[in-house]
Structure formats: C-alpha cells, structure tokens
Symmetry: C2
Subunit: 326 residues, 2 copies
C-alpha cells in the first residue's frame, strides 16, 4: 500500500442486496474491522436509504478513528453501473425500480469520500478471486443465488463489464420461452432468476404442492410462508418432494451453465449465496444437467465449486476491493 | 513491420469453412495478393485434405516469390483450438468429426512455416476489428451465418478464448428445450445453429411447406433442393411464405442476442455470411425481437450491423492477422 493508504488505512465495503445492506470497514489485508447493516427494502426514496445508511455507518466509522481514516467506499449492488456510479432499473430495489439513481455520488456527497460501485455479483467475483476459491483463476463465472440470481464473469483475469458496464446479468437469460414462462421481477418472462432464485425455489414449492397431492412435510406450512430455507430443511430430512424441487432447480441451473460455457468457456462455475448451503442436493443436479446438455468439447472440463467464503464477508470484501482502486 | 517481415512480407490466411476452404496470400497492409480454394468436405482423412490444400497453394506461393517470402500461416476454422493448434470434434468437418486433429502442426510440417489457428468466427471478428465495421470498438459480437452458426466475441478489445480456447460457440446455445428441439450437427438438440444456419433456414422452409398448403413459389422446387439462397430470392420477389421463414429465423436470432447482451453487453452485433445478403428481411426481425426480449437496461443500445467486408476476404484477412502474431 502507498503512503496515502497508510494515512487512510481503511475502505468501506457495502454489499447491497435485495434484502439486506451489509457494511464493513476493511483494512488493506482484507480484515473486516467493523460491520453494520440495514434493511435494503424499507425505503421508498433513495434519499432515505442513504440517510439510514450513513446513520448506521457513523458509529463504526468512529470506532476505527473517524472518516479521515477512510480512503474510499466500494459498493456491490444489483444493476450497478461501474462506469457511471449509478443503479439503473433494479427490479428488486423499491427506490431504484423505475429509473437511474446516482447512488455513488449520493454516498460520496454524504460521506465526503470517493465512491466506486459495481454489480453485487461482480463484487462477489472479485472477493472469490482475491480471497476465495477462484485464487489463481483467469476465467470463471460466479453465480449468486439469493433474492435474485446474479453473476460475475471473469475473462482473462478481468471482470467483464461490457460496453455500458452492465455485462453479467445471467439471471436474466431466458430459460422458458413463450407463454408458459414464469413472470420475472424484471418485467419479462421465463428468466433463470424466476426459477432459481430463493423466491423462485419457494414458488416451485408452491406450484408442486398445489398441482399434486403428494405427501410432504412442507404441507404443514402455510404455502405463502414457504421459503427456500424451508425447502432445504425439508430436503435435508429426506422429504422427496423437497428433493425434487432442488433437482428441478439444479437441472435448470446446469442447463443454463451449459449455455454459459458456449459463451466464455470458464475453468469453473462458483456458486454463492444462502441456497448453496443445500450442498449436494443442489450441486449434483447442476453437474449432471451440465454434462448432459453441454457441447461435447466442454464435457467434464469445468469445475463446479461452492464459495469458500462466508456469504456476507465475501461480498463486502469484494465491494471493498473496488474501493481501493478509486 | 520489423526487419524479418520485410524479408518475409506475406502470410497465408486460410478461411476453413464447412463447405469451402479459401486461401489468400496477404501482405502487411492487408492486401490480398493471390487466392485459391478447395472444397472442405471432399476428404475423409485429414492427410488428404492437407495434401490437396498444399497442392492448391503451390502455384500462388510461387506467384509471390516462393515459400521463403511467407512468414507464417493463420487458419480460421470451426472448433479450432487457439492454444493447441488443433481442431476438436467439429460436427461439420468429415475429417475432424470424431476426434482431435493437429491441423496446425500438419500444415506447419507440410509448408515449413509456423502456423496459428483460431475459430473461423474469431478470425472474422479480427477481420472486422482491423478492417471492417468494428474498427474502434472494444466490445462486440460477430455472428457468422453460414453452413453453421459461429461467433467471435470481443471484450475489452480482446478475443474471448476462455479457459481452453473454445469460448464463443454461440451457435450451440439451446433455443428450444426438450423433445421438440431440432437435432443439431453437434449431436444435441434445439441449438441456435439448427434453426438459423443456412441449412436451418432450408429446413424451416421444408417444414413450413409440408405442414401447410399455403402458396409459395418455393413449391415449384424439389423440397430437398431448397437452399437459404432460394428462400432469399423468393422473399425478394415478395413471396409471403419465404418472408415468414426469414421472420422466424430473425426472431430466434434476436432472442438469442438478447441473452448474449445479458452476458457481455456488447456495443454491436455484427452479422456475417451469405445469409445477411437478405438485408432487412433478416435484420429487421432480429432487431425487433431483440428489443422485445432484452432486459430493459439494454433496450435500444446495441447496434445491429452487417459486415462491411466481402465475406471470403474478411475471413481470410482475419485468419491472416493471426499469422502475423506467430
């Protein structure tokens, strides 16, 4: 680290997810010195979201010695534009659903430090490359399975940003074409995210429960209350219907990865997020479907890995890494 | 150019397509000094293909002053591995259908010069970047519509090769999932190539003619003899069925490009190959379907361009550009 970062030894990393916004103050070695969090969705206006964030940050900033110790802030957020520092038409954010929000500038004005931002999944990919299972890899794809499905694509050791900064929206490739495709938060139908996000998995559960009368411990719940975690717990207990839900989800992810291989031929697919805690229940169907559907030249080449980092930390570290580059 | 290329002022470019193999001897400014061609498919064994190639090359090599004037050879070929100089499991090449063929080394041994190779579509992308409509662009995708459907993907000004050299096989993303997908030359079903290659277009024509009794001048032909060129000519004469075939083809390409945008967010999609001579008949349905299906953040951003270079020359020039880098 240079002299300046010696004077300002910390960056703030913000993992801005559809549900939670997790902040961490990180030093140059990647140690997280302090964290705080707020709910992402509890605000209609972005001004209120930024104010609540700054209020939450204040005590942990003081804890490390004040804002003069902070070099910059890095944000990983859905639909974030790396080039312009804006969030654009993010379907899962009530305060950035219908327009272009200059979140980077707003945080910079509020905190008085430079702010850089990227896609939350891109931040996770940087986290994996610097601290996780992608160390030493130059071509890999991180797929985040959370409220939505996101992706961070690394080619030749660099994040793929594309012409406008929005590359890597693999949650919105179309998996089911035509009228039978599920509606997606993006306003279209049939997206990977509509099936393989945590909410997609819960939806699959409700569909299977209502369309069949097969037994399942999930029937003990109010269908509207079922989450992907409930499905995971039920599957862990051997519930056949719950296992089938993960097989369906994994099969679709594996088929999607087969198409992604035809695009960038990665060394590894790395899965990230709460849903991967289901382990082999989800990973085995992914690998099986991938090898069944992928072009012959790619069969049995790519690794399928689970993020080795704690979910929140990896994303915060990834976001903070963007901050060092400001 | 350095002193050595002053002594050896030419490279050989080979555009190895599913139907024709076109050779050009190219100077450092991109002028094609001499050309020759053979049929690609007329040989069961790769040894015979290489021998026929060298026989065809001999007169044009003499024409420029002999092999000592040639620095290297660059090959653009389907399923070519940039890293190893091999062609692997190329569905449209009878002498490379089932295995790994070290074509680079074979040409190098036969001619006594270094040989480099890449995907034929990657070669076309380099041709467009150096001499064509992609000059100055850093993020674009070339889609070649020929015997097959190929692609060359440029990100950050570099060709995307991926971990094993095989990235950019966009003709083999799955567009129609499940049992109703058309069989593809790659051994799988539902690939973009099975619908949008020249042979895919002819197949669409045969299907529409046999499934309906709608009038069309294509009915004057033996269905098995119909080619995409016939469909193009019929559409140009106002034949409604032929126009519908192009609309179907363009719609599928546009939907595929919508998925590709979610991957690499290119500045432009550039279409290349005989089929794009149909002009607006194919390009308008592509653009329409793209904007209807693409994620909101990408709508009306990307350009849809037709290659400005003569088809054979662009591919030969692209292949030759690989030769200079040996």
């Amino acid at each position: 680290m240079n002299e300046q970062s010696g004077i300002k030894p910390y960056v703030i990393g913000l993992d801005l997810g559809g549900t939670n916004s997790v902040f961490g103050i990180v030093d140059a070695r990647g140690d997280i010195k302090a964290t705080t969090a707020i709910k992402t969705g509890g605000y209609d206006k972005v001004e209120d979201y930024v104010k609540a964030s700054v209020d939450a940050l204040q005590p942990i900033i003081e804890q490390v010695g004040g804002i003069e110790k902070i070099k910059a802030m890095g944000i990983g957020a859905p639909n974030a534009n790396y080039y312009s520092g804006t969030i654009e038409f993010a379907p899962n954010l009530p305060w950035a659903h219908d327009g272009i929000v200059p979140l980077g500038k707003m945080f910079s004005d509020a905190l008085g430090i430079p702010v850089a931002m990227t896609n939350d999944a891109n931040a996770a990919a940087i986290g994996e490359m610097v601290y996780g299972v992608a160390r030493g890899m130059k071509n890999f794809i991180v797929i985040t399975l959370g409220t939505g499905v996101g992706s961070g694509i690394v080619v030749n050791g660099q994040l793929l940003y594309g012409h406008d900064g929005f590359a890597g929206e693999l949650g919105h490739v179309t998996m089911v074409r035509g009228a039978e495709g599920r509606s997606c938060g993006c306003g279209r139908t049939g997206c990977l995210e509509a099936y393989c996000s945590a909410t997609g998995v819960a939806r699959t559960a409700r569909e299977l429960l209502s369309k069949t009368d097969r037994p399942s411990i999930l029937r003990e719940m109010n269908p509207e209350d079922i989450t992907s975690l409930d499905v995971s717990i039920a599957a862990g207990k051997g519930d056949e219907l719950a296992k089938e839900i993960y097989e369906f989800t994994g099969k679709m992810l594996g088929e999607a990865c087969a198409d992604f291989a035809a695009f960038s031929s990665p060394e590894a697919f790395i899965f990230f997020g709460g849903m991967v805690k289901a382990g082999d229940l989800i990973m085995e169907p992914i690998k099986k479907a991938y090898n069944e559907h992928v072009l012959k030249i790619f069969q049995n080449k790519a690794q399928f890995l689970v993020s080795g980092l704690d979910g929140a930390s990896a994303a915060v570290l990834g976001a903070s890494a963007i901050g060092w580059e400001v």
